[in-house]
């Protein structure tokens, strides 16, 4: 290969991003409940309104540890206005703390995910001290208090003798926690009326009821709303994606647990038999040294293949991600470890045949060969890419079922319903006085 050809190939595998994506767009106004009617139907809207009617006058408070960034804040931003629109006013408070608090909670988070950790007395004291400060600062007058994740767990000490329902919403995988951290936190958890997990496998044996709330996507968000064909084409043109040939896409951070190098290898196995392009769209390489290293590994694995398009996108590129997913022939999420895998949900929602690693919450979304395809290896992934590209009827059928699966289980409107149902169920178990 000549020097000029080599430079051109390198440029193709490490795309310069267009100026249009370099600055964050203005946020869109949040949708209203009625906007969801065309997606979920009048029957489901009626059910939401009926469930809310019985809770009229009741209030909900959500408490978490961050107002921006992360899936929990993103979800609360959408959930809180919808509950309020249903006349079940929802408030959202964010706990505060110093760097020392968030260092401790980050360590707890990793330890609960199974990393080894030495729990010190000092860490416990920092954790409890900031929670005491927040307990004094916040009010807990609402009928149902929902505490998200471990950071604010000790707020349950404010429970007193009032009749509020206290619920712990755990978004993380507790299947294999550090024993010391879990034993420190467990007495707080056991004081709640109920705990909620994102997967059956994330739960613990507890003396309180445990419910399953799947994470969800908003079908009207920038990342998931319907797009005009011309908009998809424009974004693909800007990013240099050729829509005249099959496109296989993985959207994820440049993180080894997402196995982007394995995706490149699987693509190369498939490419021996079928023509296709690979798009790896993600982020995390610019502000994370490990992400930058993974990105380099991906580029090395891609070599000079002009059909591998690597896009290190800024975090606000939801619309671009939406367009890339919609332009794709197949979506891949070949994770080695995964929480729930909302990028899988996004792909399924767009009706795309989806291939994903059988890890974390992904098997809840992909019923093998019915709503998508589960794989366990690079070779399996490569074969399924080949198979789906050469069997469009089967690919179409699982794409259609995958979208229906999301519509039934993983949309924000379903989660609104779950919160209303939970409130009603707790209310029946322990009635509160009328407002």
């Amino acid at each position: 290969m000549t020097a000029t050809a080599s430079t051109a190939a390198a440029a193709r595998t490490s795309r310069q991003l267009p100026a249009s994506v370099m600055t964050p767009p203005a946020p869109s106004p949040p949708p209203h409940l009625e906007d969801y009617k065309k997606i979920i139907g009048q029957g489901q809207l009626d059910a939401l309104r009926f469930l809310a009617r019985d809770l009229k006058g009741k209030t909900i408070k959500m408490v978490n540890s961050t107002a921006v960034g992360g899936g929990v804040a993103e979800m609360l931003n959408r959930l809180v206005p919808l509950l309020s629109e249903l006349e079940v006013p929802a408030h959202w408070d964010v706990i505060t703390g110093g760097n020392d608090f968030f260092e401790v909670t980050k360590a707890f988070h990793n330890a609960l995910h199974g990393s080894s950790y030495t729990l010190t007395k000092a860490a416990q004291e920092i954790f409890l001290m900031y929670n005491e400060q927040n307990r004094e600062r916040l009010r807990f007058d609402e009928g149902m208090l929902v505490i998200h994740d471990p950071q604010p767990l000790p707020l349950i000490r404010s429970r007193e003798a009032n009749s509020s329902h206290w619920v712990w919403r755990c978004h993380i995988d507790l299947s294999n926690p550090d024993a010391n951290v879990w034993e420190f936190l467990r007495p707080f958890v056991e004081q709640y009326d109920a705990a909620i997990f994102s997967s059956q496998s994330f739960a613990r044996q507890l003396p309180i009821p445990q419910y399953l709330f799947y994470p969800c996507i908003d079908p009207l968000s920038e990342k998931n709303k319907e797009l005009e064909e011309s908009q998809v084409q424009k974004i693909c043109d800007e990013l240099g994606i050729d829509r005249s040939r099959p496109i296989v896409t993985q959207v994820s951070r440049f993180d080894r647990l997402k196995d982007p190098v394995g995706v490149v290898q699987a693509y190369k196995l498939a490419k021996k038999y079928v023509d296709c392009q690979l798009v790896l769209a993600g982020g995390g390489a610019s502000d994370d040294p490990e992400g930058a290293a993974v990105l380099q590994e991906v580029k090395d694995a891609a070599g000079d293949d002009p059909d591998i398009i690597i896009l290190d996108l800024p975090p606000w590129c939801a619309l671009e991600i939406n367009a890339i997913q919609r332009a794709s022939t197949i979506i891949v999420q070949k994770s080695i470890k995964e929480g729930f895998g909302l990028t899988v949900t996004e792909g399924l929602w767009k009706g795309k045949p989806t291939i994903a690693g059988a890890v974390g919450g992904i098997p809840n979304q992909i019923i093998h060969k019915l709503t998508g395809v589960l794989v366990h290896s690079v070779e399996g992934c490569g074969f399924q890419i080949r198979y789906l590209l050469t069997h469009p009827e089967f690919a179409h059928r699982i794409g259609v079922s995958g979208r229906e699966h999301v519509k039934e289980n993983f949309l924000i409107t379903t989660n609104v319903k779950r919160w209303l149902l939970l409130y009603q169920i707790l209310q029946r178990a322990k009635p509160q006085p009328s407002a």
Partner: protein
């Protein structure tokens, strides 16, 4: 011109109230990592868990036309790689049961007989455990109430598919009859036993719930017209 001898619909003395049921999934205490553990748990789990993994799972997967029957069958294939057992479990039609006890016994018999015939399968560990769940359920009304066959048809076409599941599939556990709410009303209130019978024979395992709705609607339309 020959005269039709099909029965004429009569005015019902009681309207048909279209309801629906909403469920919140509760994670149970039991899980199984092998087939013998599955058998033990099927025998001892709360009735709500048997309901969840058979009747309810059909509602959750109402959009799948074929290949999904119940969670026990699905797990036997996907996690245990036991296609014979999976086919046997998938062959159980929940509509043959008017109480959970009978359904539990049938599922347990199938697993028990399979393990006796295939002793090597006793010790195989599943790829992933089976988690027993149950649902907390609320029955809620819809805006649709039918005081005539035409209004029934209109409601049938407009309610959500959860309502169809509630009246057509879950109903037999409420009624303790080999029937469903639609057939009961059409026979007792409208005087159309042949339509009621045809509806009862619709195959739920080769149809989506939307397909079931359309088949019921076609049968009722014949009577309306």
């Amino acid at each position: 011109m020959p005269t039709s001898d099909k029965p004429r619909p009569r005015k019902p003395s009681k309207p048909f109230y279209f309801n629906t049921s909403e469920h919140l999934l509760r994670i149970g205490r039991q899980k199984a990592a092998t087939l013998p553990e599955l058998l033990d748990a099927i025998k001892t789990c709360p009735e709500g868990s048997i309901f969840q993994h058979t009747f309810r799972t059909l509602q959750e997967h109402h959009f799948i036309r074929q290949g999904f029957s119940n969670d026990f069958a699905h797990w036997s294939l996907s996690a245990c790689n036991e296609p014979i057992l999976a086919e046997q479990l998938a062959g159980v039609d929940v509509r043959e049961f008017t109480a959970i006890g009978g359904l539990r016994q049938r599922m347990a018999e199938i697993v028990d007989e399979f393990l006796q015939a295939h002793p090597q399968s006793n010790s195989h560990a599943a790829n992933e455990p089976f988690y027993f769940c149950a649902a907390d359920t609320l029955v809620i009304p819809t805006p649709f109430v039918a005081d005539s066959l035409r209004a029934f048809l209109d409601g049938l076409k407009r309610v959500g598919v959860h309502s169809i599941h509630h009246h057509f599939i879950e109903a037999r556990l409420r009624l303790h009859l080999m029937s469903n709410d639609f057939s009961q009303w059409l026979e007792e209130e409208i005087g159309l036993p042949h339509i009621a019978d045809s509806i009862e024979r619709i195959d739920i395992y080769t149809n989506t719930m939307e397909g079931v709705r359309q088949q019921i609607a076609r049968l009722v339309e014949q009577a309306v017209n």
